[in-house]
Symmetry: D2
Subunit: 357 residues, 4 copies
């Protein structure tokens, strides 16, 4: 315990904040020492302040902690931000300025030039952007939108091997991606909603940064076009995506399978606690992957791919599944923090005169 890094959660009572608590339960490197939320919740016992929506109980030690205001005087070596976009824009830079590394799930700074948009298996070198940040003694690192993550994880081995020209994706996204209370049950039950506000823009723009190359301290975006149609389906967890890819040059479905199977995972030797045994699981059974059956693979951190075959219009098409609140949110952010630890970018710090342990 003495060696664990102390972690603060910003937006601790919201849906993403709750997921951070679930994912960090029993974490070998990180220990939650501060739960920050809005003024309305500050001063309350966590179990009273949060409308806990998870299927796991609140860990007892967390339940009794007092919620504090989201001010940069937390007893923490760094913070995870599960803040809403409306709050993250102001609060996250404040924490960075006061010396806190901010590992954020919010969308606000994802496309900022000096902020890494990070998936450890995809672009671990992008953390070098931190060196460009002039945001105080701390810094901000972000993870992508939940609908971007699975797509980009599946594309990375293809981009590394082939010349990807264009990507067409239709998403079937889970309800939990909308937070709580989120989607009305009258819109969800037995229905599909063919629109999710702001979502398609993120799927179109984030992949070019994630798959871009770091050149002279800047990200050179990947030269590929993305078309996205995002829909909401009555599924609790797991975004399923129908992807078609067009390459420059001839690439067959078998080539894509081969690329996925033989790709070298750059963090393979890092032994990060949240990294799944298999980054990508490729299914041969044409009925798979399915959200209900496979969303939990690798404790929600594995990305599943199936039905790889030729496309009559573009070149190759396939199905991708990823867990939207674990790999696509809290779990992804925690893995980002683990990478930063391995890279020596996250360490103990003295906070407000208090030393943990």
């Amino acid at each position: 315990m003495k060696d664990k890094l102390r972690v603060g959660i910003l937006g601790a009572t919201g849906a993403v904040g709750q997921k951070f608590i679930e994912v960090l339960d029993g974490h070998p490197w990180f220990e939650i020492t501060a739960l920050a939320a809005s003024e309305r919740s500050a001063g309350k016992r966590y179990a009273d302040a949060a409308n806990w929506i998870g299927s796991m109980s609140i860990p007892p030690a967390i339940a009794d902690m007092e919620v504090v205001a989201a001010a940069p005087d937390l007893e923490a070596d760094f913070v995870f931000s599960g803040l809403d976009a409306s709050a993250a824009g102001d609060i996250e830079p404040l924490f960075a300025r006061e010396g806190y590394p901010v590992i954020s799930n919010a969308r606000n700074y994802r496309m900022a030039e000096d902020v890494p948009l990070l998936i450890p298996e995809v672009n671990p070198d992008h953390t070098a952007l931190i060196d460009q940040q002039d945001r105080g003694d701390g810094f901000i690192v972000t993870n992508p939108n939940c609908s971007t993550v699975g797509l980009v994880c599946a594309l990375k081995p293809l981009v590394d091997r082939f010349d990807v020209d264009a990507v067409h994706v239709v998403t079937m996204q889970a309800l939990s991606g909308a937070g709580y209370p989120g989607v009305s049950s009258l819109d969800a039950l037995g229905n599909v909603v063919p629109y999710i506000g702001g979502e398609e823009d993120k799927v179109v723009t984030e992949p070019t940064k994630l798959l871009g190359r770091l050149v002279d301290g800047r990200i050179e975006p990947a030269a590929l076009r993305v078309s996205a149609q995002c829909t909401r389906v009555p599924v609790l967890e797991g975004h399923l995506e129908a992807v078609s890819v067009q390459f420059r040059g001839t690439v067959y479905a078998e080539d894509v399978k081969e690329a996925l199977r033989t790709w070298h995972n750059p963090i393979a030797g890092y032994d990060l606690p949240s990294a799944p045994a298999r980054f990508i699981e490729v299914f041969e059974d044409e009925r798979f992957p399915q959200p209900r059956r496979h969303v939990g693979l690798g404790r929600g951190m594995t990305v599943s791919v199936g039905r790889i075959r030729s496309c009559e219009v573009l070149d190759v098409k396939f199905i991708v599944l990823s867990h939207n609140t674990i790999r696509g949110a809290a779990g992804g952010a925690v893995l980002n923090a683990e990478l930063l630890v391995r890279q020596g970018r996250l360490a103990k710090r003295a906070v407000a005169g208090v030393v943990a342990g």
Copy 2:
């Protein structure tokens, strides 16, 4: 009543047969006079033979009818076939040979050269293929697969106006399309199944015939490629489809909207009882169409289109919704029969010495 055509239903106890009964309830031109099913059901009262799954009750007059074997001695001027593909292959030609027009929903003869694959608004002239048929005094006419129908209805105005090169479609199909008992609830609830056996082939092949031109008594297939990814979602009725279209030549989203709005419906003046007031409903609200809200438009015969906008990879993309068991099955077949009446191809006939009325 005296003037109504007498109708037999083949496969009357199955899911499609039941839908024929629902759709024909109170029909002004057609009257069900024979219910045919397997030997197992023959001789039973219909209400006892059928495991009625609909939300409307069995019409009382139908409930008490006796089910007969599917032999070509029915008291009927023509038959609707809701037979399974396993039975339709043999039984439908038998009825045609014995003089019955067979208006079929089965897949067996859809791609046969001499058989019209018919959507009245799309290719009403294709019924001329009947003249090529050498199948006895009767004939066979088919309607397309439920996942093909909505797509082709939305494409028709585009094909008429522009030069369509390629179509990419991802379907989110309702459970009722799989019949009864069909999909297990453990596969359906809170899940998406990214595969439907045989479905994608139909979506790839049927549109080229439907959108083809009749030249010298044969169908010249439309020169367009289709790529389909079919999925099953937990929706009861209504197939939603995400469609992207590539044109030869420059076509913008506004052109597509304009084409859909100004297209001339070739059966506009026919006054067919099952034809909806609006063949295609175009939505501006980006949240629409949705299965739960819009599947019933035009009593299930209207095709809904929304989110028409430019595609970053192909040219234009949009959403299509159609009712899979009405427009996509029983209702479509009934509309086909109505067209044939208007064209003078369906009329009263003497059957087994019995004259109705």
Copy 3:
């Protein structure tokens, strides 16, 4: 058209108000002439003010009407109130005072001594309470809670024939009963919520008034106890209830069936437009009734009963199903108005100097 009564809808943009519009579409006696809602909506076109959630489109004539404020100067012979309880308490008496009959679905005045809590088939004579009202030239009539209605309809024939001592009911209620957005999809999908705020109290108290006798201008409550456990299940429309009844004296399941089948409906001869052909449908098939299949019987106005059998703890148990937003809300209120017309208690009135037609 000249003879139709002019109807105003209070709370016209809400979920109940929308259902009033659906139910009144094409009504032979009533014509919507005023749509009233909050100040926020006043002045807007109805289609713009309402977030229409129904599966039927907004009737075109309604879509273009201007929403007005809920002030008692509407051009209407009477009003239906779909107001929230927070607004109904003040606004309904105001309309009554200004001379409008108020046919309300709100809960506020249901248990008021001078206000009929009305189900036409159950207690049509209770409208005599109107004569006791000293609320201005108008009056207020209410219909019961959606979870009370089915139960009381099924109990009425039993109360008429036997001496009912106690009723134990467990409800499985549809999501639409909570309005829009109502229940979060994360609480609804694949879940049951064993609590609905305020609901059990209504099921316990309303039946004794509904089944009470009118004595000297007052309601003498029925001498029966009710125990209710209300749950929310992932169903869109239709409250299913598991009911067990204890009688004073010996009553068998067969007696209950007989009572339900032979009961005389007091409004049988009234020919009310919304009254179903069958008030109660009794099923012998032990799998029935089910929400998805039977909620629409009698256009949502029939109450379904099944599985009538002896109870090992009380005397007889059975299942009841009723449509919560039609029989249990808007449809029930419209039927109440129809009864009042037949009883001569609703008629044309001069409003603000305007005469309809």
Copy 4:
């Protein structure tokens, strides 16, 4: 590993058999050494023979095992039976005769006089019935129906403290209780089915045996009546039950809460691997328990109780939730086996000349 007992699974490819495999994964005392199924599956690799429906992958060691026929020559110290009732009737006695202890989830022998119907926390002494068995060197022990378990667990502390006269239960049961493919999605989605064949009889009869007293080597049934109404709701896992209890003598809701909280668990000191930290979790939040949130408590072995309050018709009512395929099936059977180990009734045996380890 050397000390683990060798376990055979009868009916290994079915839904219950699969759950046994999940529950036994990583079990500290038991190791699966034989997978038995029908002749059709025998000889196949398990992963090929089983249509695996779980959300966890098949454990790799299991996936490659060869399925054998269900004949009593398995290399196993005892067997778990997940057989269908149609097969269990013949096969289970055969295994007992050949010396295998049979820990069965099938219904066939539950009510047999000499067979324990066992829930370790409820009636651990009932295993003494084994001494009465004259079924060969082996024996049969059963666990109750999935809808009985939660009810009886919640009743046990009440029966121990008070004089329970009657129990009224309405169940809302999960789809997984019907096996695979089980319930059709068209019957499940957005629906409630108010009937489950054979289920109510089990809920009525099994509790009297489970709660009965062992007297002179026989079970004296508990003197209480049970009335059950069983329904199927669109939930994947977790049977929710609305229970009302009538006592002889005065018992209040507070007494029930107190009894549940202070009850002494007879296996508290046994340290059985599958026993949950809390046998019964009592909720004060009136919205709880709910299947989606709480079914996994105690890894599916905790029984949840909530909404304890007085009943207007009987005495006290409450809600019970239990996991139907873990506590109510495979997990319950494994706990039974663990109890038998502690009681010295399960041990290593020589099988067909083979000794494990």
